[in-house]
């Protein structure tokens, strides 16, 4: 029986798509991610000293800041690939922009949940309408809207085009949003790097800085790994879509 089936259906023609080259790069990214994550945990919980006034709660800082960094990086990558897509019109660029935006939204959600947890114990309030918080919230909504544009009906290249346009405008909006909100005066966020404006309260202990940098590296590896995986998943999805289309055509004829 199986032989018959095989003979009846010729093997599906291979659609030429961006090849899913996994092996080497995936392994490197995965290895780097695991190693740096473990190192980050060591540095966060063993190496970095406990903050004097806030205590152990301050450890959430090592999740909060790198997530914010990854979110901004992801949106920047979306911005760059959106421009590349509009110029070159290659589907890979669009896939990168899309996957990166999705990752960015997830990490923004992490920032927006870890932030209030930390704020409750250090500022004694869940939320403050402060520039960086509000900008992050608006950024979250903007890229949710970006994902909504992706959910539109229609052919992929129309969706990709519109999403790319929205990605560019949305990213261009972010600095203006930040400046606009900054005029409501920032009181809460400490300036971590460099001297604080009042020469006190700012700054960071060297051991904490090391831990923070290690965590940022780990999160960047995580981002690169997820992006790579996500893109290869997306490519597989496209491939399967092509196969389905081919099969449907065959059934119709």
């Amino acid at each position: 029986m199986s032989m018959n089936l095989e003979r009846e259906k010729a093997p599906l023609p291979i659609v030429d798509l961006a090849p899913v080259k996994s092996s080497m790069l995936t392994k490197i990214l995965y290895g780097g991610m695991v190693v740096s994550m473990l190192a980050a945990f060591y540095f966060i919980f063993m190496y970095a000293e406990v903050e004097k006034t806030m205590g152990a709660v301050q450890k959430i800082f090592y999740m909060h800041v790198p997530s914010a960094w990854v979110a901004f990086l992801a949106f920047f990558v979306t911005f760059v690939f959106s421009i590349l897509f509009l110029i070159k019109r290659k589907r890979v660029y669009d896939t990168y922009a899309y996957v990166s935006a999705e990752i960015g939204v997830v990490f923004t959600a992490i920032v927006l949940t870890t932030g209030p947890i930390w704020a409750k114990s250090s500022w004694n309030t869940w939320w403050a309408w402060e520039p960086r918080l509000t900008t992050t919230l608006i950024l979250f909504f903007l890229f949710m809207a970006y994902l909504m544009v992706r959910q539109m009906d229609g052919v992929w290249d129309k969706k990709a085009r519109l999403a790319a346009v929205f990605g560019i405008i949305g990213f261009a909006d972010v600095p203006i949003v930040f400046f606009a909100i900054r005029w409501w005066q920032s009181k809460f966020h400490p300036i971590v790097f460099g001297d604080g404006p009042s020469q006190e309260g700012g700054g960071i202990a060297p051991s904490m800085l090391v831990a923070l940098l290690v965590t940022i590296a780990a999160f960047t590896f995580l981002y690169a790994y997820i992006l790579h995986k996500g893109v290869s998943f997306e490519n597989m999805k496209i491939k399967v879509g092509h196969y389905k289309e081919k099969l449907r055509e065959k059934l119709e004829n």
């Binding site: 949710m144 544009v149 346009v165 405008i169 949305g170 203006i176 400046f179 606009a180």
Partner: protein
């Protein structure tokens, strides 16, 4: 290009004046927003005066979004959008024409509904009316410029009525922040005029940046 844009704007306004559908809806909706605001903020209470400058922009934003939705979806019904795209002119002149039509419509809505708001809430302007008009102009310009662009973008979707507010509100947040702050100062506290002017500068900068950006990118939105 400008002539083509003017033609499109004229066409839109003529067809609007004939049916008065959108304009009527926008004005009635603005009235309804005022009504709802009177439930939310007790007009007899003196502290309500503080929210009136913000209420001006709530009216403009909500009734504006109705008009923006219509302006490009109406082109879709008989596939007239393709006609416009095939016509011998740039995509940017379609955008400019649509922008001018929407802008003049929102100005009409403002002229009708804002005096109505001040009247019903018994609001006495202590600041300068001239500056107030300037703020309205700058703010509506930015809101409609980016709104027309995003309406063109959203009109590709079947559920553009739902999509447009989601795209538009986060995108226009700098305009709305700047303009509400400036309006508050201008209507109640003229001593801080310099702050209001710098807010207006911020909004004007936003207007310029996004008007240019929309001009450049509209080609990609209105592509067949």
């Amino acid at each position: 290009m400008l002539r083509a844009a003017l033609t499109i704007a004229k066409k839109d306004i003529y067809s609007e004046l004939r049916t008065k559908q959108v304009l009527g809806t926008m004005i009635i909706f603005a009235g309804l927003v005022i009504l709802v605001l009177s439930f939310a903020f007790d007009p007899a209470n003196n502290t309500t005066k503080a929210v009136i400058p913000g209420a001006v922009w709530i009216i403009i934003v909500f009734s504006g979004i109705l008009g923006l939705n219509r302006s490009l979806v109406s082109e879709q019904r008989n596939e007239t959008m393709h006609g416009l795209m095939v016509a011998p002119m740039d995509a940017s002149s379609i955008y400019l024409g649509k922008f001018m039509a929407n802008f003049s419509m929102i100005l009409i809505v403002e002229i009708v509904s804002i005096p109505f708001l001040f009247l019903l809430f018994d609001f006495k302007i202590t600041g300068s009316i001239l500056y107030f008009i300037l703020v309205l102009f700058v703010g509506s310009f930015g809101f409609i410029a980016i709104g027309t662009f995003l309406a063109a973008l959203a009109s590709n979707s079947k559920s553009s009525e739902m999509l447009l507010p989601l795209l538009l509100f986060p995108m226009t947040s700098p305009v709305l922040i700047g303009v509400t702050q400036a309006t508050k100062i201008i209507l109640t506290n003229m001593e801080k005029l310099s702050t209001a002017l710098s807010w207006m500068q911020l909004v004007a900068a936003y207007d310029v940046i996004f008007f240019v950006l929309c001009f450049l990118l509209i080609e990609y939105v209105l592509e067949v």
